[in-house]
Symmetry: C2
Subunit: 404 residues, 2 copies
Amino acid sequence: MDRYLVISSDCHAGLPPEKYRDYLDPQYRETFDVALPIQLEQTQRMSEKFLVAEINDQWREGREAALSGAWDHAERIKVLDGDGVAGEVLFPDGITEMNMPPFGAGLSLPTEGGIVPELQWAGARAHNRWLAEFVSNAPERHVGVALVPALWDVGEAVREVSWARANGLSGALLPCQWGTHAPYHHPKYDPLWAACQDNDVVVHFHSGPAPMGDYFGDLTDPEAVDLPGAMGIYVSEVCWYNVRPLTFLIWGGVFERFPRLKVAITEGTVVWVPEYLALMDHRYTDTHASAKLGDYHSHLKSKPSEYFARHVGLGASCLSAREASMRHQIGVEQIMWGSDFPHPEGTWPFTERERGISLHGLPESDIAAILGGNAARFFGFDVDKLAPIAARIGPRKGGFAEAA
Amino acid sequence: MDRYLVISSDCHAGLPPEKYRDYLDPQYRETFDVALPIQLEQTQRMSEKFLVAEINDQWREGREAALSGAWDHAERIKVLDGDGVAGEVLFPDGITEMNMPPFGAGLSLPTEGGIVPELQWAGARAHNRWLAEFVSNAPERHVGVALVPALWDVGEAVREVSWARANGLSGALLPCQWGTHAPYHHPKYDPLWAACQDNDVVVHFHSGPAPMGDYFGDLTDPEAVDLPGAMGIYVSEVCWYNVRPLTFLIWGGVFERFPRLKVAITEGTVVWVPEYLALMDHRYTDTHASAKLGDYHSHLKSKPSEYFARHVGLGASCLSAREASMRHQIGVEQIMWGSDFPHPEGTWPFTERERGISLHGLPESDIAAILGGNAARFFGFDVDKLAPIAARIGPRKGGFAEAA
């Protein structure tokens, strides 16, 4: 084949907020009617506060048809084909974070700030139902990631993971932050890891959540001081919070107990990987500096970097040239390119150019791995079914030989 | 001079817990008598829980005289001279974390877990009084770091910084974590930054504090499950929590408003520096990925790395050979070697060997900067007064030419 198989490890899909009504269990529809205008008004207020309403409007202008690919499958396929993307992994929060499922069941899966567990579950299920329907239009091209607000009730989470698998979804998005709930090294989550492993459902953490109160103070308090630099702190810390659950899983011995569990860390950049692993391996092997802390190593048979290599996939959204140049330090078999369509920070509508800037000059085998081979293996895409699609739409090999 | 001037940017001094009584304001002594046995019992229980009681006992065995240098000035000077250390920066928590000032006024300066603000202040003042006395024995050799539990009351903190300067102390240790208090980009702290700047008092953050509840659960709950890997997570995250306040100061524009403020980040390793600065500079200069977040750059005239270079000193305790090899990426004018005496994870009693392993083969000018030149300039040591001491005890130039 003279074209690459491309799979985007990070794409988003979801309905316009008002359209989730039909996918909710009927008993939540009345609450939905009350909550929707409040959600839209809050969204609008935040958008104005951070001076981004205009930017978001600009993003949509003249692109309405293509962006409706966030929920319209025929439009979606046109965009994917135009981007040379044969397969994709589907997270929530359609066109922007302004398009999220109801009741706080978006990408962040918060557990604080007035979130009602029963309602968040209802919102998550509404999205999961719609997503299962969306994916069924071309199951070979989409890996759907179910929303699983796992912190409230592990039993519920286990049931949702089984439901996801039975309905054609093969990923589970978990909260990155746990507030006052038990963190992920707590043994109470073992049934959830077992369910994900046994159902071949990949656990996902996606960048976005962070302790916003630390940056912005209380956003609902009209008396609150506007804190200078809050957004700069957020963008400097957000990737760390996305990786944090992995630190807990590794040290917690979760991969020791669940040797087939897979975890994707998405849109958190991948530059952190070498120092992250160096630090944890150092802590694992070091004896002098940590002697006074007792034995915290011997429950793990492998070094942290070894669990990482076996269990972790990196959703490398909008991969930069610098990240590509660091690929051997990071793990050339773990980096999985992503377009982030239809988010404005993604590569679309300049995907071909952006991909060229990131990958030009790399060996063909590395490009093949990063663009699709790694994701195909990690997420279990059926490459035989994708091959004819890639043969038709994929970027041509040789096209990355020169500077874009 | 054929010897290096050595200054340790990270040393510890403090009384055995029971001896702080005399340094407390009299109205707190009765409370002290009640609290001390509880503190000692808790310390012992933790020490047993983490299986380190034995290691700590071993650490002291046969070293009692030298370790009494934690509070005995004559013994201290013998150890410093033996280590070739002319000057040092003095943090609390003497021989180990088991030796801390009363009422939670130790290195971590916690604000949760039953801490009473008035008592923590009293404990901090007791330590500061003792430290001022200790430093006065040889003021040219010690930079004393006052404990300033600043989160409770900024006015109190401002007064303590003035007191510190007036009493021969020239550093202020602030809490790394703020719990539910305002974080450091809040303008309410501006009077504190002004006081530190105007009194030439260096702000210090020292590794140790981290959200222990996230790792260990509720340590006071006898029913609590023992969480596997908790200590591994702690040692993997603790450095990040030590650097975190700096992220808030930089983005908060604090260095813009206080152009002579200096901040030391100590015992957090220094390997994080290159990626930390690359990330923040990227966030500062990037326009595509962050457009939807509004303008969060223009209140800062300089890039984050520029503030870092101008304002930050790195307390590089027990510098590793790898860190030394990365010195140009990290900042060869900011790395300040430290021995961490008398903590068991420090270089003593093998300081000469450890220093040799870290620094052998480096150019003389880099060794001079890292061992003492940077710290002399950053903390304002009087090098004329230290020169004769260094000429007598300092490690010989040329001694680092070969592998240790």
